[in-house]
Subunit: 394 residues, 2 copies
């Protein structure tokens, strides 16, 4: 079962479905995804406020009698009449009756008598509701509560907020060749990297994941892992072994565990092995074992799908135009995602080939921040060519 | 003391200086900044590895005798000779003597005798050091340990890593008009927003900050805050009041506390009040009180400066070309940073004016992800114009 990349994405999206919602304290909401339309509960501003430090007054006179002082949050005289004036700070509520505020630097004050130049009604007063009226939509369902939206929730005085529940993700890695960095290195082995790739990106998006562990390549251990994880997690993600038919017990394991396999490979390079399987309430995503193949599948398919499953409306990485600073090699007739280092010069993105595109190589991901999308008709590119790149990090 | 924007940035950078370094466990290093040149400790791969599942052999014969099986991490026969073959898994070490690996699907096996088609030496073998040799630089000092680099450190088998120390930041907000969201709203007051703006962005960049609290607008409380914080933090950041000369005791406070004022305003809109002051070992950054003015200064000056102070080499937000989807208004003769909502269509960035650019308005930051940089010669733009935008979030 090989899926083309569009079908694979649709099947992934469909199998993960829509999350439920829950109400949480705004203080706990950083990184969550809004599940309601957020509206203002009052007019902004809710009173007429001074835009400057100066004298609130009714124009038409030369000199005024100073009645008092109002700060933002410090109460002063609530109204004025005739030739009265109140000194108001920036952000302070302008007293009733006043029609404008003269800047302090334009006025002369002596013995409580203030000389104010002529000005028009409305000057230097921020009107009630001028920013927005009560009931204005500030964010829609599907918005991430990021460093832009989070403080706005406080500005709005929201105490609780409806967000999407986080699907629970269980991770395991397979492979008898896997060491942990605390182990002594043995010739021909590799250090566990895939756990940290998954965790790093899941941390970026605030996913709720647990590391189940490192499962050895044998039937019983894999069946046990599936049995235990299926009841505990909404989504199970593995790396390596499983999807390769390596010891040829995989399909049998899926049958034993009641999983239906939706696809086993997709037409991309690197990393064509990507398995999607499902049973009621649990989706399994089997990812390839080579770190570069795992990362590519994560960026191209799995992260967008998980972000959608977490309720995010704008769930895909952006695809931007880039100018090639170097050549990059690819074969026509297949879809290749070449690792690239993107930089911005004078407003435009440029891309440099990361040096090697072999599936078994991985070190360049230390600085790779984009994947060139080279479709079936593109093939190799030379310096100066235009291309499209998935913008992973900026 | 008004600084132009270039001088202000230089003074900020200079006053924050370069951080010290420390050695930490790689497991604790996510989000930190590398302070050394990171090199590989061995060749990658360190043994000849099979690129496919298949038969390792010496070409030149038709049929071979199966000597055993080698998995990645499962030891099999260590060498072959003549007409011997070993079945090797993808990623497994190829036995000594073997010159190539034939794909299993191209061979026929019966009773331990394998028929292998003719092929050339080297085929399907990943050579020792082909990804990189021992001593290759994978990351340089100043690189952030992000979701790309973090897993690479594990791939490299690094247990400890030299990183920059994190300067300690203390935050306080001022203003008698500030309520917390647990308080009942009072007419004319505003909810504390600036604390959450600072915290949200500081979280994004992994800064080490503490919230000192909300300081009331009076001389004694401000002096006490400065005294206590100067000995505790490398950098003090405040919002509101202080830099406005509101109750006119600010300069006096700075004298009492032995701070030298470097500048009090910079030539940008919104948010010209930005104060930089210094005493030995402590830098004070006084930010404006309006949330929009605070955010603009944070994005334009303070975050890049702090990222540099944390050791980051690539410490500035990217500035990208955008096509205006709407008009945006600005005055020629001054530098304005207009709030915009950026989107990407067919590879290009487009910008829509956020609707209002008044300093006292803030709600649009819920979706603002870019600031249009409108310099002294630019003025207003109309739909279809090109502009430069600070890319805050993508």
């Amino acid at each position: 079962m090989i899926a083309d990349r569009h079908t694979a994405r649709e099947m992934l999206y469909a199998s993960l479905g829509k999350p439920e919602t829950e109400k949480i304290s705004v203080r706990e909401s950083y990184g969550r995804v809004v599940a309601e339309e957020l509206r203002t509960d009052r007019d902004y501003p809710d009173t007429r406020k001074s835009a400057v430090d100066g004298y609130a007054h009714i124009p038409g006179h030369d000199s005024y009698v100073l009645k008092g002082l109002t700060g933002a949050g410090r109460k002063g005289p609530e109204s004025i009449d005739g030739k009265e004036t109140v000194f108001v700070m920036t952000g302070a509520t302008v007293p009733d009756g006043a029609l404008c505020v003269a800047r302090v630097e334009d006025c002369v004050g002596r013995d409580g008598v203030i000389t104010i130049p002529d000005m028009s009604a409305g000057e230097n007063i921020n009107k009630v509701g001028e920013e927005c009226y009560k009931g204005t939509v500030v964010a829609t369902a599907g918005s991430v509560i990021h460093d832009g939206l989070f403080p706005v929730l406080f500005y709005l005085g929201k105490r609780e907020i409806e967000v999407f529940r986080k699907p629970k993700i269980g991770i395991f890695v397979t492979g008898d060749e896997i060491l942990e960095i605390e182990d002594d290195f043995k010739r021909g082995m590799v250090f566990n990297t895939n756990k940290y790739i998954l965790e790093s990106f899941f941390n970026r998006f605030g996913f709720d994941y647990e590391y189940y562990g490192h499962v050895k390549d044998n039937r019983d251990d894999v069946v046990r892992a599936f049995d235990e994880m299926s009841s505990k997690y909404d989504i199970i993600i593995s790396s390596g072994g499983i999807s390769m038919g390596k010891y040829d017990f995989v399909k049998d394991v899926f049958k034993t565990c009641d999983y239906e396999i939706l696809f086993e490979r997709t037409r991309i390079k690197p990393g064509s092995p990507l398995m999607l399987a499902k049973k009621s309430g649990c989706t399994f995503i089997g990812m390839p074992g080579y770190p570069a193949a795992l990362t590519t599948n994560l960026l191209f398919y799995v992260l967008p799908a998980l972000r959608k499953a977490y309720g995010e409306e704008d769930n895909e990485f952006k695809i931007v135009d880039v100018v090639m600073r170097t050549e990059t090699r690819a074969k026509e007739g297949r879809f290749e995602l070449n690792r690239a280092i993107l930089d911005v010069e004078d407003g435009r993105f440029y891309a440099s080939d990361a040096g090697t595109q072999k599936t078994s190589h991985y070190n360049s991901f230390a600085s790779v921040n984009g994947l060139l999308l080279l479709d079936e008709k593109t093939g190799s590119l030379v310096k100066g060519d235009m291309a499209k790149a998935l913008l992973v990090r900026v």
